[in-house]
């Protein structure tokens, strides 16, 4: 166990010395404040995710996110815990949300306080979200979900995830998300759908707000004041805002895997060696 302890100590110290990852977002562009957001983050328990609400909030802050939407699968209480913790600790703006999971479609409800029942059609769910003052976003709308988004649903839908980890998994998925997004003018959303791998903000949405409040973020989402940039620097969203961003040096890309710094690499290697040593040589035979 001594070798394990030494390796994990090295891993912990190196982890502590590793610089926080920062994606520099210009604070202001024209009349707007620009916030880095991720509007699809899950938490432990109940949602097949590894981190509790407070750990998600801390990780989102470390990743330089200004606004996040926390959401449970068909429930909202874990998101409320996250919002409470973030307000207590001065973390990012937290919007309470729900990912409405149904056999036919998945939909993100941002800015709600009560559960939206998952038995309704997409149009019915959208109407319920709007009645609570929330914003309805199509979650990873791949081709298999398209039949659920009929004319009535499309008429009420506010936004769609055009950038999602699936978009970086293969060109076919990226094309399907893009085709859905192009069906009608929708709010462009880039989100991580964080469950435990990758990290919150891997794919992100830049929100153009006039003040830094939860309501201002919701208004911006409703009024399509967002931009999301893919790996190839293709920007999705409001054309004027894309132009404004380009005039101000552009916005960071989503889905970019950067080489880790030296401390992080040391920490990772020592941790893996420590874990393996713990398993293979941890407790000797009694």
């Amino acid at each position: 166990m001594r070798a394990t302890a030494v390796l994990l100590f090295v891993a912990a110290v190196a982890g502590l010395l590793a610089p926080a990852p920062r994606m520099s977002t210009p604070a202001r562009m024209g009349e707007y404040r620009v916030l880095a957001g991720d509007f699809h983050i899950h938490m432990f328990p109940l949602d097949e995710a590894t981190l509790a609400p407070w750990d998600v909030v801390l990780e989102a802050r470390r990743r330089g996110l200004d606004a996040i939407a926390l959401m449970g699968h068909n429930q909202v209480w874990t998101a409320k815990v996250g919002r409470w913790f973030s307000r207590l600790t001065g973390g990012p703006l937290v919007l309470v949300g729900e990912e409405i999971i149904t056999p036919a479609y998945d939909m993100i409800a941002v800015g709600i306080e009560q559960n939206v029942d998952w038995h309704g059609t997409a149009a019915e769910s959208i109407a319920k979200i709007h009645r609570q003052g929330g914003v309805a976003i199509a979650a990873h709308p791949l081709r298999s979900y398209w039949p659920a988004y009929d004319e009535a649903a499309m008429a009420g839908l506010d936004g769609a995830e055009v950038l999602h980890p699936m978009a970086f998994a293969g060109p076919r998925f990226a094309a399907e998300l893009r085709q859905f997004y192009e069906r009608k003018p929708l709010t462009a959303i880039g989100s991580s759908d964080f469950h435990g791998t990758i990290y919150p903000g891997f794919s992100r949405t830049y929100v153009f707000v006039r003040e830094v409040t939860e309501q201002a973020v919701l208004d911006a989402l409703r009024e399509r004041r967002t931009v999301a940039v893919d790996r190839d620097r293709h920007a999705y969203g409001d054309v004027e805002l894309i132009g404004l961003a380009e005039a101000n040096g552009g916005l960071p890309r989503s889905g970019v895997v950067t080489e880790a710094d030296g401390w992080s690499r040391l920490s990772r290697a020592a941790a893996l060696a420590g874990m393996l040593t713990a398993l293979l040589c941890g407790f000797k035979r009694a």
Partner: protein, 182 residues
């Protein structure tokens, strides 16, 4: 060579022989040492997956709520044995978790690397296949531990149901709540 390694290795390779011949351990930490080892490896893996490094605060925090996992395992063990298990039994049972811990280490190593950061369909299939193999391997080891299919099934029914309800129970709770009129 094998004598220099932990009993987990012997159990992974020859479970029947290992469970029959391993000497009985004793000590103050016997009840919790292997459950804690499991939590340590799991939470270190979670830290690597999320941050790409070993973050002590994150490992410490996740260890608190992920300790539900060994607890549901012990609950399953108690159900299978029809009594609350004593320290030696818990220690011995957790020796059989080697395949899952090895899987966690391998998965964390891959997914925290630049290559594995973005999952592709081929990678989902690969890790899914590995997980099924680990699941069968783990069943085989636990069958050798219990020496009874019935006990193995009872353990799985109790511990996996509890795990599923806590880790991924949104739908389960919604359905249950609706049917109960809550």
């Amino acid at each position: 060579m094998l004598s220099r390694l932990s009993p987990e290795v012997w159990v992974m390779l020859r479970p029947k022989q290992a469970f029959a011949k391993l000497p009985v351990a004793d000590g103050r930490w016997l009840y919790w040492r292997r459950p804690l080892l499991m939590v340590l490896i799991l939470c270190s893996g979670i830290s690597l997956l999320t941050t790409g490094r070993f973050s002590l605060p994150l490992v410490g925090s996740t260890a608190i709520y992920w300790s539900f996992l060994p607890l549901v395992e012990i609950a399953g063990l108690a159900a299978a044995q029809r009594r609350w298990p004593e320290a030696r039994m818990v220690d011995r049972f957790f020796m059989g978790h080697g395949p899952w811990l090895l899987f966690i280490i391998a998965f964390a190593a891959y997914c925290s690397s630049p290559t594995g950061a973005v999952g592709t369909p081929a990678m989902f299939t690969f890790w899914g296949t590995i997980a099924v193999a680990v699941l069968l391997w783990s069943c085989w080891i636990d069958y050798r531990f219990f020496a009874s299919v019935g006990k193995l099934l009872l353990h799985r029914a109790v511990s996996w149901s509890l795990f599923a309800a806590i880790f991924a129970g949104s739908w389960l709770w919604m359905e249950a709540g609706e049917r109960l009129g809550l």
